[in-house]
């Protein structure tokens, strides 16, 4: 009986949500919550699955609510750059294929994918997550190049956080075989039986915010919230509280005090993510 009474109300709500999405959101934001039931500072359920792709040297799948990103790392040989003969390469690439959302078309990478790729490259560079010298096998002759491919399988907002987390988890999973250079033939010999994990020095964690109506900051926006927001902000922090990246691509202005609030939320988020990742890695070790 109750269901029949609620039906017209549900119908009205969905119509209102489609016709006036901003007003619909404002009603929730006034009560300090969001349509999916979260608080303004609450993240969606985060799940991570490490080592699922057996053909890659390291892989991780991260789900932030509906947003799904998978990262695969492949290691190959390359000659080190001429100006830095003792360094290897880490080459990230973010792919937003049409399968993840109807807003993307097939063809060359769109602007959002390019910006995300540049963002991940900046995070790797700034946070020094891997010392490039660790990737060198023989100075001037041979080095590792790690191709990190991040593919979005479902786009529901907050792609940068998911990509950063997936990258970190995949790099922690990477095992590189030992390589020796044969003195006589000058060829590299790969010992697939002896593998070492990478030396991950820092753990950068990204926290994204969306700015609503120039004043309200909400954490972990969904796709719909990103569309209605007047600005976005992403903070990447490592475990010592140092900032690797403060990415605010335009949008409404923020005061220094609001930035400070975002910093404290980013610190809490870092602890949550680190705990989750440590649990997953610990559960994998006996294998």
């Amino acid at each position: 009986m109750l269901r029949f009474i609620n039906l017209p109300q549900i119908y009205f709500n969905t119509c209102f949500r489609t016709v006036e999405p901003l007003d619909y959101y404002r009603r929730f934001l006034k009560e300090n919550c969001r349509p999916d039931g979260r608080e303004l500072g609450e993240f969606r359920t985060t799940t991570v699955n490490i080592g699922s792709i057996s053909t890659a040297d390291g892989s991780a799948l991260v789900k932030l609510g509906n947003t799904t990103v998978i990262c695969g790392v492949k290691a190959e040989f390359a000659a080190p750059p001429a100006d830095a003969p003792d360094k290897g390469y880490v080459v990230p690439n973010v792919d937003l294929p049409p399968l993840c959302s109807s807003r993307f078309r097939s063809g060359p990478p769109g602007e959002e994918a390019q910006v995300a790729s540049q963002f991940i490259a900046d995070v790797i560079e700034n946070s020094q997550i891997i010392q490039k010298e660790d990737l060198c096998i023989s100075p001037g002759k041979l080095a590792w190049v790690l191709y990190c491919d991040l593919i979005c399988l479902d786009y529901d907002g907050n792609i940068l956080d998911a990509c950063t987390f997936a990258l970190l988890a995949a790099l922690k999973n990477v095992q590189l075989p030992e390589v020796t250079i044969n003195e006589e033939t000058a060829l590299a010999e790969v010992n697939l039986k002896k593998k070492n994990y990478l030396n991950i020095r820092t753990h950068p964690v990204a926290t994204s915010f969306a700015v609503f109506d120039d004043t309200l900051l909400i954490v972990d926006p969904t796709g719909e919230e990103e569309h209605l927001a007047t600005g976005t902000l992403t903070i990447v922090m490592d475990e010592e509280g140092k900032l690797c990246c403060l990415h605010k691509p335009g949008g409404s202005g923020l005061t220094g005090a609001k930035l400070q609030d975002c910093m404290s939320r980013a610190v809490t988020r870092h602890k949550e993510v680190k705990k989750l990742m440590d649990e997953v890695i610990k559960s994998m070790k006996p294998k």
Binding site: C245, L246, K248, G250, G251, S252, T255, Q260
Partner: protein, 197 residues
């Protein structure tokens, strides 16, 4: 496009003293500005751009979109073309300043002006405003901010390198103080332009 602008931040000699109409204590380099440079673009070129340029374009575009009153001109496309003539450091900040002045020259209605300021933090934590290319390369962290003219709020920020929260607030405060020099320069150059014609 109707308005065009050439911003030139000249490189300062290492032993030079700080002087000029901006007053002592301002560590920004000398500004120069020339408006209405192009009456009509007389050529075109296309080239393959990298991911870094696309990222920079997105930053500048979103900053402009935040201040331009687009609702007053529906079905209008505003194209901002930035051509780097010479790069002596603080390139993104210079691009932002040029974009803002070009929009003013074109007469596009805006809710505020914006300016770009770059800060560099070197290895012992000293803050340098408007770093040269050499200072940028040697710095531990380089932070670029876009601030609006009404309340000095942060419109855009992009950073390189590692820095702490306290250093960020320090750089932001320094950038906000420096932005008033930039806005005063905007006002003076516009006054000069419109007093001639």
């Amino acid at each position: 496009m109707d308005g065009a602008m050439h911003t030139d931040a000249k490189s300062r000699a290492e032993t030079g003293t700080e002087s000029g109409p901006r007053g002592p204590g301002c560590s920004l380099r000398h500004f120069a500005c020339e408006q209405n440079l192009l009456s009509r673009p007389d050529g075109s070129a296309s080239f393959i751009q990298g991911v870094a340029e696309k990222s920079r374009e997105q930053l500048i575009r979103n900053t402009c979109e935040a201040v331009v009153l687009g609702a007053l001109h529906p079905r209008t496309s505003i194209t901002v073309v930035l051509q780097v003539i010479s790069d002596a450091g603080s390139l993104l900040a210079c691009c932002l300043n040029a974009a803002c002045m070009a929009l003013v020259d074109a007469g596009v209605p805006m809710r505020a002006l914006f300016c770009g300021v770059t800060c560099a933090l070197d290895s012992d934590g000293t803050l340098v405003l408007d770093p040269t290319a050499k200072q940028e390369k040697e710095a531990r962290a380089v932070l670029t901010f876009a601030l609006d003219s009404v309340e000095r709020k942060l419109l855009m920020s992009t950073t390189k390198g590692l820095y702490s929260d306290a250093e960020l607030q320090q750089c932001l405060a320094a950038a906000q103080a420096a932005s008033q020099h930039v806005f005063r320069f905007y006002r003076e150059s516009l006054q000069r332009r419109y007093s001639k014609s």
